[in-house]
């Protein structure tokens, strides 16, 4: 791979003349979205991560946190700052794929470890994979694939599918169609940031579909669900967890009840680590944890497990320790595929009312020990 060679050259040149980094312990740079519209996700990931650090009581783990404002250019500059000035060993925290694409290749080329708490674009899983890059969350396509698998398994014959017109949206529909190969009632790309879905809902109504699959992260999904629920179209809805996560459910309200969504985590997964996490999170922050918080929590625990086995200065040993994934994941089973993305079960959750709180409950398993479609494309 020519790219990697060039990148290594760049790294060598950039590192030349830098003094020896942090002498002991591990310094982590967390770049995440803490201001603006998407701040909720970053805050959850940060809180989950810091909770794990606190519960582990590690004072040799130093975390520097910066706000990327959801702007890729800012994220790049913060990464430069973390690497050049803070001299961190490990980077983490990025929520959005486009920001990850901006930061990760350069960071790993400079010999840093990158542990993803969320974003895991296909470009970094296949051709652009790197031994120093680990995704602790999933590969971006996973939840969509699981939704496709679930639709096929549940016997739907004619889903209508929609996603925003940007790369992650196209990956989503591609991923869904990888495991649902039947007929589609329609396939629509909406404008990124669109808030009114009346036109699409009318198309759904007219299309003769028997179900709806959508991927509309953030406010887009909230708008869609509210409008859909009010439209009188009563087709079953399936989607990835993003629009039905704890942070967002409150805003969608009852419109979300009954929706099936795919997720690799849920707060009712029955294991000790998850119970400690859910209780600890509620005690610490006074709210229910979200998927992003769970991913942040697992990321920190993965890092701590590697710290227990190897010195971060010994990159090969540390990398091997990370790859073992010898930590108690809140998801239960967890291991890395050869391209450093998780092999895990993906569940089907249903949105339910628990007391007066709207939340999710696992109703099925969509895929077992699922890895991703890019394993073979990754040569490292």
């Amino acid at each position: 791979m020519k790219m990697t060679k060039l990148a290594a050259l760049a790294a060598a040149t950039m590192l030349a003349g830098m003094p020896a980094a942090w002498a002991e312990g591990v310094k982590v740079g967390m770049i995440t979205t803490l201001s603006g519209g998407g701040a909720g996700l970053g805050i959850d990931a940060r809180d989950g991560f810091m909770l794990a650090v606190k519960l582990a009581g590690r004072d040799d783990l130093d975390v520097v946190i910066e706000d990327d404002q959801r702007k890729p250019e800012i994220a790049v500059q913060l990464a430069d700052k973390m690497i050049q000035s803070e001299k961190v060993d490990v980077l983490t925290g990025i929520i959005w794929s486009n920001l990850a694409m901006a930061v990760v290749p350069a960071a790993v080329a400079q010999g840093k470890f990158y542990l993803s708490v969320n974003a895991a674009p296909s470009a970094l899983a296949g051709k652009g994979c790197n031994p120093n890059y680990f995704s602790v969350s999933y590969q971006n396509d996973n939840l969509h694939e699981a939704a496709g698998a679930y639709l096929a398994k549940a016997g739907f014959k004619k889903p209508f599918i929609l996603a925003p017109n940007y790369p992650a949206g196209k990956d989503s529909l591609t991923g869904m169609k990888r495991f649902y190969t039947g007929e589609l009632a329609g396939e629509v790309y909406t404008k990124l940031g669109q808030t009114d879905y009346a036109a699409e809902i009318a198309q759904i109504r007219a299309s003769g579909a028997d179900s709806v699959f959508f991927f509309l992260p953030g406010g887009m999904g909230i708008s869609f669900m509210k409008q859909y629920a009010d439209s009188g179209v009563n087709l079953p809805v399936v989607g990835p967890a993003f629009s039905f996560d704890q942070g967002i459910l409150g805003a969608v309200g009852q419109a979300a009840l009954g929706v099936k969504n795919t997720s690799q985590w849920s707060k009712d997964i029955d294991n000790a680590a998850n119970k400690a996490f859910v209780d600890g999170f509620q005690a610490e922050y006074g709210r229910l944890p979200s998927l992003y918080a769970a991913q942040g929590f697992d990321t920190a625990n993965l890092l701590i497990s590697a710290m227990n086995k190897a010195d971060v200065k010994d990159a090969d040993a540390f990398r091997a320790a990370l790859k073992e994934a010898d930590f108690p994941s809140v998801r239960g089973k967890f291991s890395f595929a050869s391209n450093n993305h998780p092999i895990q079960d993906i569940y089907v959750r249903e949105v339910v009312m628990e007391g007066d709180v709207i939340t999710n409950k696992i109703v099925d398993t969509a895929m077992t020990d699922h890895a991703n479609a890019y394993v073979d494309a990754c040569k490292m």
Partner: protein
Amino acid sequence: MNRETIINLLIALGLIAVPLWAIWADEPFIITLATKVAILALAGVGLNIALGLGGLVSFGHAAFFGIGGYAMGILASHAQNYTPMMEWPLLIEGTKSMPVIWLVAVLASALAALLIGVLSLRTSGVYFIMITLAFGQMLYYFAISWPAYGGEDGLSIYVRNGFPGLNTLDPAQFLALCYAVLFVVLFLSSRLAKSAFGLALSGARQNEDRLRTVGIEPFRLRLVAFVISGAVTGLAGALYADLNRFVSPTMFSWHMSGEIMVFVILGGVARLFGPVAGAALFIVMEHLLGGISEYWQVFLGLTLLGVVLFARGGLIGTLAGRKVTHD
């Protein structure tokens, strides 16, 4: 020497002294910040030609900034993937050479400015502000939904492009290069302001009737100014892409247009060093406030508001007093 000249000299000295200190104190990130200041200042210098001299309040300069950025991204990505951009009717290959990229960035953004200018300059006042904004948004949405070069994900360039005789991977050398470009453009822009063209352009801003009455049609002047302005901002875009080794549609967003405008106004409209002072102040604030509070943008907003309401003429206007136009 008048006060503004002294202030300009102090700013220039500061620009050079801070990175020298950073090298001595081993604070490499300060060098990155200084590079960012220089590049954004350059974008502001570009806008200032339209805004300060010509009175053309463009709310769409992110269009040129983004085009410059994508000129770099597209050329360099073809070079790094060893795929030609075009094979027929003639073979065009990508490149990793900064001078070539700069030339393409300047030409492409100048051409865009020509097209946007021809249409926009038919309007004036608020309509001009809004139509330039609309063109910027048009390109923004185009960049997001155009899949060939990454769409919203943008394009990563793994290694910074090269400049003959320099190691651009060394932050200090890249900074020196950006400074050199900035100072050359500042020099040219100071000449421009005093030239026949500058006299007429600024005259058109002050009184359009006067200009027509002496036989000069303002439209062509403004169009040329808009093209020069767009080209300089496009050059800044190419450098910014190289600083980040990354381009994305956010370079086209209206926030970017707003920020470039903020640099100019914060520093002082139509002041030679206004954009430099403005960009430096803005980035220092962003850097310092960002460390204090999660809600730092509130304080940034309050500071900007304070400058507009109470420090008219921006930083340099406040320090140097009234503008002196004669020699």
